[in-house]
């Protein structure tokens, strides 16, 4: 459509990107709007969850943290379910989503975003390889069990598992030992790559020298730490929900006093107590770095500090200090620290942790655009709730909810092929 045609249709058809959800205060440049909105908040959030879930599983596979054995397999499969979702916000945000492949076709390597395709596919390859080695014996077992069975579903699953074995049917001790070694190696390579994937998401922001809030070498490290925090919290939360569901279905089927119920409940509390120690450790690291960044900015008080201070301590005070640091960090920190852990307490604590990390992403991405480049005015972001066109859907509440819901749907599907929630493992 040419400009004349659009103009002929009347001005109401001309939607300036960002105008729908931006209000301005005092002096801002005419072209300034909140260009990076909710989906760019979702992007580091989802990548962080991927990286965090993977690191959690690697703690067992590489460092032999036996206490994480049960949750390791689950978090590995969950990180696979989260993988495609790390790309989704970007696709929903692009003005020309159909040209997304240009990043792979002509990567312009002076740009931090250009490496995304490469880093991301490397990471995906590692996750897939590791899962394959973890589940190879299982695949072979399934092929043997389903061999000769009738019925469409069984035939389909038979062929699916047959393809998934990739022709490697050896389940002898030597072969299984090799599998284990390969898992360790892949998990070992995976940790730095996962950290790189996310630290690099931080670099995308930290390297924008025009933005006074983002420009900091600490941002990538802060992003990695909070990523691991959110990843562990999400794995714990999902694990609790699924185990509770299993417990309740066991109670309904067999009665409250049954042995299975006790077994599930015991295993669940054990896993959760141990995992929450790691969560606490990474939370301390993340908060320390964030506070260091804040103190440093205040102390050096560069030209931009006046406007940053008015945003942080004024306009965004509730978002930063009440919701992020208070409700999202301090409260769950105390909840996890108090002795006598219960599942219910951890359940609410992990929700708060996830909320806190989300608010941190929000305060970085939206907060970084809350002030004008002229340092003489402010911009406010109003999240579109009810979409009235494609753009306000994509970059509004419902777009974000779509992104949040997808990994759970994917996990449900993937888990049908590679079950990761059995509470008794034999072959690992």
């Amino acid at each position: 459509m040419s400009v004349e045609q659009v103009v002929a249709q009347g001005a109401e058809h001309i939607a300036v990107h960002g105008m729908d959800w931006t209000t301005k205060e005092l002096f801002t440049y005419p072209n300034e709007f909140i260009y990076w909105s909710i989906q760019i908040v979702m992007y580091p959030y989802m990548t962080g969850l991927v990286a965090g879930a993977f690191v959690l599983s690697s703690l067992y596979h590489v460092f032999g943290q036996k206490d994480l054995k049960t949750i390791a397999r689950f978090s590995l499969v969950f990180s696979l379910a989260l993988l495609p979702v790390a790309m989704m916000p970007l696709l929903l945000h692009l003005q020309q989503p159909l040209r997304n492949m240009n990043v792979m076709l002509t990567p312009h390597f002076t740009s931090a975003i250009a490496a995304f395709g490469i880093v991301f596919s490397t990471y995906a390859a590692i996750v897939l390889t590791e899962i394959w080695f973890v589940y190879r014996v299982f695949f072979v077992d399934q092929v043997n069990a389903l061999k000769g069975k009738e019925g469409t579903r069984d035939r389909f699953m038979y062929y699916l598992y047959l393809v998934l074995t990739l022709g490697a049917f050896d389940t002898g001790d030597a072969a299984v030992a090799k599998d284990k070694k390969a898992v360790t190696i892949m998990a070992g390579i995976g940790i730095p790559v996962a950290c790189f994937l996310h630290g690099y998401a931080g670099f995308i922001f930290g390297s924008v020298k025009a933005n006074a809030l983002w420009m900091s070498p600490l941002i990538p490290v802060i992003f990695i730490m909070s990523a691991i925090v959110s990843g562990i919290a999400l794995c714990m939360l999902t694990y609790i929900i699924i185990m509770e569901w299993k417990k309740w279905s066991a109670i309904i089927a067999k009665g409250k006093g049954d042995e299975t119920v006790q077994l599930i409940a015991g295993a669940e509390l054990d896993v959760i107590t141990k995992t929450s120690r790691y969560l606490l450790g990474f939370m301390v690291a993340a908060i320390t770095l964030e506070l260091l960044d804040l103190i440093f900015r205040g102390y050096t008080a560069m030209k931009s500090w006046d406007i940053l201070r008015s945003v942080m301590y004024g306009k965004d005070f509730v978002n930063i200090f009440v919701l992020q640091y208070g409700l999202g960090n301090l409260v769950p920190f105390l909840m996890l620290l108090i002795p006598g852990t219960t599942i219910r307490r951890v359940f609410f604590a992990t929700i708060l942790v996830l909320f806190g990390v989300f608010m941190m992403r929000w305060n970085v991405v939206i907060g970084g655009q809350a002030f004008s480049l002229s340092f003489a005015g402010y911009m406010h972001y109003h999240l579109p709730i009810i979409p009235h066109n494609l753009e306000t859907y994509k970059e509004g509440l419902f777009g974000a909810l779509t992104v949040i819901a997808t990994p759970f749907v994917l996990f449900w599907i993937i888990n049908k092929v590679t079950p990761s929630l059995e509470y008794k493992f034999n072959n690992e």
């Binding site: 005419p30 003005q95 002509t106």
Partner: protein, 256 residues
């Protein structure tokens, strides 16, 4: 024919070695590099703004919007004019309603009456793309859709831009925006289609007071070059290290 492992390795090594030299003659070019060969290397376009001559009539913004097909009603613009009113108490009132398109005919700033007896000074500052020597917008484009020509102008390839907005975020001057119709990054090009043919930019052509001028920095006899070399000129936000190429005469310390 039999081939031992040793032979295989040997031959592989030889072939690789032999292929390296001719293959190294080829070079992978990004679209940005290819496009960068547009332009004339004997030219370096620069801009000179004399803020003392600007009266804030907005004709430059009008001309630019018409010339470059920037939708009229939205507040976005490739160029704009800012009004600064500095008070005796040190406060600064700054505005640029509709990018200054309709001129500054109202003495109110954002509905506030400014008491004239308390004003210490007031002036207008036209803004446009600085066509930086080291443009951050080009640096951060993930697909190489924005590039710098040999004569120093930063352009956007509308057929290749993915619309990620990274360049918009990276520009310290807030020059860039999304074109509402083409849905790609948009910016001032010094009217590249005009200056290439020896014409002036639309804003220069339409400035009745000669506040805006364009010249070739590589030509020492260019009147604009002479002014930049001889007068005391300043640039905007040089702390970002982008080496902006729009020079200002009479720039005030309050200008953002």
């Amino acid at each position: 024919m039999s081939c031992s492992r040793r032979d295989l390795l040997k031959n592989t090594f030889k072939t690789t070695l032999a292929a390296t030299l001719p293959l190294s003659a080829f070079k992978m070019l990004s679209p940005a590099e290819v496009k960068a060969y547009t332009g004339d290397s004997s030219i370096r376009w620069v801009f000179l703004v004399d803020t003392r001559k600007c009266v804030g009539c907005g004709l430059c913004v009008k001309a630019c919007k018409n010339e470059n097909e920037i939708p009229w009603d939205p507040p976005i613009s490739r160029t704009w004019v800012e009004r600064y009113v500095l008070m005796r108490n040190g406060r600064a009132h700054i505005d640029s309603p509709m990018a200054g398109r309709d001129g500054f005919t109202d003495s109110k700033i954002r509905e506030n009456e400014i008491p004239p007896d308390q004003i210490s000074k007031g002036f207008f500052v036209p803004k446009l793309c600085n066509q930086c020597e080291k443009p951050t917008c080009v640096q951060v484009c993930p697909v190489g859709a924005t590039y710098q020509t040999q004569d120093g102008i930063v352009l956007v390839d509308r057929t290749w831009c993915i619309g990620c907005g990274y360049c918009i975020m990276a520009c310290p001057y807030g020059m860039r925006f999304f074109h509402p119709v083409y849905k790609v990054a948009e910016k001032c090009t010094f009217c590249y289609h005009r200056i290439k043919k020896g014409m002036k930019t639309a804003c220069v052509q339409n400035c009745p007071f000669g506040a805006r001028r364009i010249g070739n920095m590589k030509n020492p006899n260019d009147p604009v070059t002479k002014l930049i070399m001889n007068e005391r000129v300043a640039v905007l936000k040089d702390e970002y290290g982008t080496k902006p190429q729009v020079y200002y005469i009479g720039l005030d310390t309050n200008v953002r």
